[in-house]
């Protein structure tokens, strides 16, 4: 029914991170295809990002929040280990008290798992409207490869059965026990399997879910005007698109990672928002999210004429990316809580 995104204004250039750790910035930028990444404000976290994204979605679709029957927020950086993010979102958008709410965690695909849950509840007739959110202030240990991309941002989708701006035709998931990335309870930063996160993790799951969905509904890459894949860096989604038969032109509009970084649970969902910001009635969009651990959720989507009515009611992704405030590494470290006072 609607969508909304939120990106903090702060950025750090990869050169500034590389300079601190004695790394070759040009080679890292070329390898990752990322130039800069977003950084949360000193008073921003996954909850404030989830609320701002949800408020933008509500504003864009002029949604009556008393109709919201479910809120699910996916994140790997929920500020509380015990105490839901989603109840705070519910209060902040005026959806209390008659609704169900819970938080999801599945590395970078917790937000698309939330979309699937809302779809199920709407189709089953258990709720009128659901709100699915992916929001993160993702973590990367100082000097680790993840530090060059771990960013902050989120997106929210209002899922219902009428007044649709886009129709989710079908979804398909592919899930296995693949320990490519994890963070243990109480640990500040995640660990990962280095290059193991590539073929057995990202590419196996993304391509399997994408092929599975296209086989299920009888579609092919050329049927789609746009495609978006999880964006841990700029290289992986380009390669996954090529493996599946999608062109660079199809993924270009949703490829936000070069100027944003990897917003984890927000990554694919912000990419989809960037596509919806410019898609026309009848356009078809193919989306595949990936979460380490590991799994992929694929979606086939068709845009309706209602998109034109609501599109300009809230900030577009490119507007949220514009006018950044650049931080040096010391201030970035303060913003991320790496320096504690």
């Amino acid at each position: 029914m609607s969508y909304g995104a939120y990106i903090p204004r702060y950025r750090i250039k990869l050169e500034d991170i590389a300079a601190v750790w004695g790394a070759d910035a040009a080679s890292i930028k070329k390898g990752l295809k990322v130039n800069e990444k977003s950084v949360p404000g000193l008073d921003e976290d996954a909850i404030t990002i989830a609320v701002e994204a949800a408020r933008n979605a509500v504003k864009r679709g002029n949604i009556d929040t008393s109709r919201v029957g479910a809120i699910y927020t996916g994140s790997e950086s929920h500020p509380y280990a015990v105490k839901p993010t989603s109840t705070i979102v519910a209060a902040a958008i005026g959806a209390e008290p008659v609704l169900t709410a819970a938080d999801y965690e599945f590395a970078c695909k917790a937000g698309t798992a939330a979309i699937q849950t809302c779809m199920g509840l709407v189709v089953a007739g258990m709720i009128d409207i659901g709100v699915a959110i992916g929001a993160d202030v993702s973590q990367g240990a100082p000097g680790d490869a993840l530090e060059y991309t771990a960013a902050a941002g989120g997106a929210a989708y209002v899922i219902g059965s009428s007044d649709l701006a886009a129709i989710i035709e079908d979804t398909y998931s592919f899930t296995t026990d693949t320990p490519d990335f994890w963070r243990r309870e109480g640990m500040l930063y995640p660990e990962h399997g280095g290059r193991f996160t590539g073929d057995p993790g990202y590419f196996k799951h993304v391509t399997s879910a994408a092929k599975g969905l296209m086989e299920k509904i009888g579609s092919k890459p050329s049927d789609y005007d746009y495609a978006v894949f999880h964006q841990p860096n700029g290289k992986f989604p380009e390669r996954a698109a090529g493996m599946l038969g999608f062109s660079f032109e199809q993924i270009k509009a949703g490829l936000v990672v070069p100027m944003l970084g990897n917003t984890y649970s927000g990554s694919c969902m912000i990419g989809l928002a960037a596509i919806l910001d410019q898609a026309k009635e009848g356009d078809r969009i193919f989306m595949t999210a990936f979460g380490s651990g590991a799994g992929s959720d694929a979606f086939s989507i068709t845009v309706t004429d209602k998109i034109e009515d609501i599109r300009n009611n809230a900030p577009k992704v490119q507007e949220l990316l514009a006018d950044p405030i650049y931080l040096d590494y010391a201030n970035y470290a303060k913003h991320k809580g790496k320096i504690r006072v």
Binding site: G41, D43, I47, T48, A91
Partner: protein, 129 residues
């Protein structure tokens, strides 16, 4: 601040819920349960402020209270909401970007936290429009 004290203020802090006297048309934030002008003739209803307004005056905090040291320098302003009432709030921007009369809009931010293991307080701050 105790948990109960914060919890009672959630509607005001998250969504700027105040009150409105339908008899005289006055708006109140924080909310008043009785209109001081109309007294018993006043009819009070709940009212959600949009949160847009302008800076009446402000100060730049350089010596912060406990828990806010990492934010200095930051702006604390009295903001006159478009409906009339004034409130004190933080305006997120460089001090040099702020002037008396600057138009502001609300944003949802972390207001503070009890301690590293205590509850986190959320609510409304402002940014230049």
């Amino acid at each position: 601040m105790t948990v109960a004290r914060f919890w009672r203020k959630i509607p005001h802090r998250y969504n700027l819920i105040g009150t409105h006297c339908t008899t005289c048309g006055e708006y109140y934030f924080p909310p008043r349960q009785m209109c001081p002008s109309c007294r018993r003739d006043g009819k009070i209803e709940s009212y959600q402020f949009e949160g847009k307004g302008e800076v009446v005056t402000y100060t730049v905090i350089h010596t912060a209270a406990k828990g806010y040291a990492n934010q200095v320098p930051y702006n604390l302003a009295i903001i006159k909401l478009d409906e009339g009432p004034s409130l004190t709030g933080q305006v997120i921007c460089e001090p040099k970007e702020l002037e008396i009369g600057t138009r502001v809009r609300p944003v949802f931010r972390k207001l503070g936290e009890e301690s590293e293991k205590g509850m986190i307080y959320y609510g409304t701050k402002f940014v230049p429009e």
